[in-house]
Amino acid sequence: MAEQVFAYIKHDQGVADDSALELIVAAKKIYPDASVTAVVTGAGSDLDTICNEMAATYNAVWKIDNDALAYPNAEVVRKALVNILPADSIVLLPHDTFGMDLGPGLAIKMDSAFVADVVDIEGIDNGTLKVIRQEFSGMASAHVTCDISGGAVMNIRPGVNQPDESKSGGGEVVDKSGEAGDLSTKRTYLEIVEAEAGDVDITKSEVLVSVGRGIEDEDNVEMVFDLAKAMGADVSCSRPIVDAKWLEKSRQVGTSGQTVKPKVYMAMGISGSFQHLGGIKGNPFIVAVNKNPKAPIFQVADVGIEADILEFIPELTEAIEGL
């Protein structure tokens, strides 16, 4: 019998998250012949829509319909999964703000191993799975082994597996709602507060000069605006700049900020965490300037310059102004 792997399908009112077609690819890196079951929680007709869509890709779909699951509160989802999944299951989740909320606790409750933010899977040998992770803000990669004999919860980094568009699953939707059990929790979802719009909509910008931690001081941010003005570009930034309150949240590029799709992206003093890169779409021409030659941004940039942006930016600005 084929080995069974479960993938939790994240969706927003029936619309699948990108991870939905990526997790099956990760599952097949664990067991090439795996029978992969999509587990989908929600309520009402939206849930049926997404379940039917997933049946085309997955070998089976387990539907868990309950009003308590209308919004995916990880505490509620965890209780349902613990009640429904067989012991020793291998469960895949996306390593996003939901997967981080759910995965670690789910692994404890299922008494199984947990591996976070898996970027690749090498395969299995004698009940031990070998995967690749990154540490130190992406500056070092590591092989990690995981004893999966008692089951495992694995959070898979979004975007590292190409989506399976083949629709070769042909699974049946099985209604598991009756097995969800008691879903009462001590954390209650209230509402989503939408991000405030800023004075510039960087999602529409064609050229972005994006500034990161390398700018070092609030007083230096002005030089970035000078460069952007010379180029006819807008200014965006990475997370530490917003945390320091030097620029408004609406200028932050990344999974927890804006998703941008410029033609040219100038990453100035940005190391390039996966959360930051996750906010850059549309394959722009990326220029990276960083004084650390090991910065992960140089792996994805088209052109790299090893330099201190505090010295480089004013010189570049002057040169462009002189054109």
Binding site: A74, R78, T97, M100, G103, P104, G105, I108, K109, A113, F114, A116, D117, R133, Q134, E135, F136, M139, A140, S141, A142, H143, V144, T145, C146, D147, G150, K186, R187, T188, Y189, L190, I192, V193, V207, M231, G232, D243, T255, S256, G257, T259, V264, S271, F285, V287, P293, K294, F298, Q299, A301, V303, G304, I305, A307, F312, E315, L316, A319, I320
Partner: protein, 262 residues
């Protein structure tokens, strides 16, 4: 409110170039600058601000060796009232679950309403808070960027995708993992550090905590790092070389060609 904040001493990635050692089994640790994990610093600041409003005390705890005492002292200089060092040879090589097991024992030695961790640390796993909550059977919320204290419960905001915020009510006792940006951590000067330099920080080992040494450490770890390696970068960036003038001239040619100059 009695608050416990779990902190960790980590290599400061903004101050260091991380290099892998020649054996490939660790990073080069000589000359590394260590500091308190950035996320933890926000957690401690938040705890201090809550206690300033509603009363109570803040305790900081870490699993580590003698050198980890310095991060406890630093957070006490910020304003945490107590520090506890959890240290034992049996703890070495623990995976996330092992660390959570040790912290759970420390939580049960106290009487805390709220336990906080940083959302993640140097390994980028974001796992210990969620594991600890599940072991304690406390409710959990991760990536918290807003806390409003209420009666027996908290209103918390979680940072989710797209800069949106997910609001939740959560009953206490609970565990929260704290996201950066929730506040502006206060500056700690040399005077602040001196003030707490002689404060005694108790150390607790496996037997003090009642932790079964076989349940933690390398022997119990189901998840183990085998080695560090430099990934095949593929093509990577074309690095521009030469004098600054030459580099800028080349860059401007690229920008013109790619539509980067208007």
């Amino acid at each position: 409110m009695e608050i416990l904040v779990c902190v960790k001493r980590v290599p400061d990635t903004s101050e260091n170039e991380i290099e892998i050692n020649s054996a490939g089994n660790d990073i080069e640790r000589d000359d590394l600058v260590y500091s308190v994990n950035e996320w933890d610093n926000y957690a401690v600041e938040e705890a201090i601000q809550i206690v300033d409003k509603v009363g109570g005390s803040v305790t900081v705890v870490t699993v580590g060796d003698d050198e980890s005492e310095e991060v406890l002292r630093r957070e006490m200089a910020m304003g945490a009232n107590n520090g506890i060092l959890l240290s034992d040879d049996a703890f070495e090589g623990s995976d996330g679950k092992g660390i959570a097991t040790i912290l759970k024992a420390a939580v049960e030695k106290g009487n805390y309403d709220l336990i906080m961790t940083g959302a993640q640390a140097d390994e980028g796993a974001a796992q210990v808070g969620g594991m600890l909550a599940a072991m304690l059977d406390y409710p959990y919320a991760s990536l918290v960027n807003l806390i409003e204290a209420g009666d027996g419960k908290l209103k918390v905001g979680r940072e989710i995708e797209g800069g949106n915020q997910e609001m939740n009510d959560i009953e206490m006792p609970c565990v929260l993992s704290i996201q950066t940006g929730i506040n502006e951590p206060r500056y700690v000067g040399i005077r602040g550090i001196r003030k707490v330099a002689s404060v005694e920080i108790p150390t607790m080992g496996a037997s003090d905590l009642g932790v079964d040494a076989a349940a933690v450490g390398a022997g119990a770890a189901k998840v183990k790092r085998v080695d560090y390696f430099v990934p095949d970068m593929g093509e990577g960036a074309e690095m521009l070389e030469g004098s600054t003038e030459e580099i800028i001239a080349k860059l401007i040619e690229y920008l013109k060609a790619k539509g980067g100059l208007k």
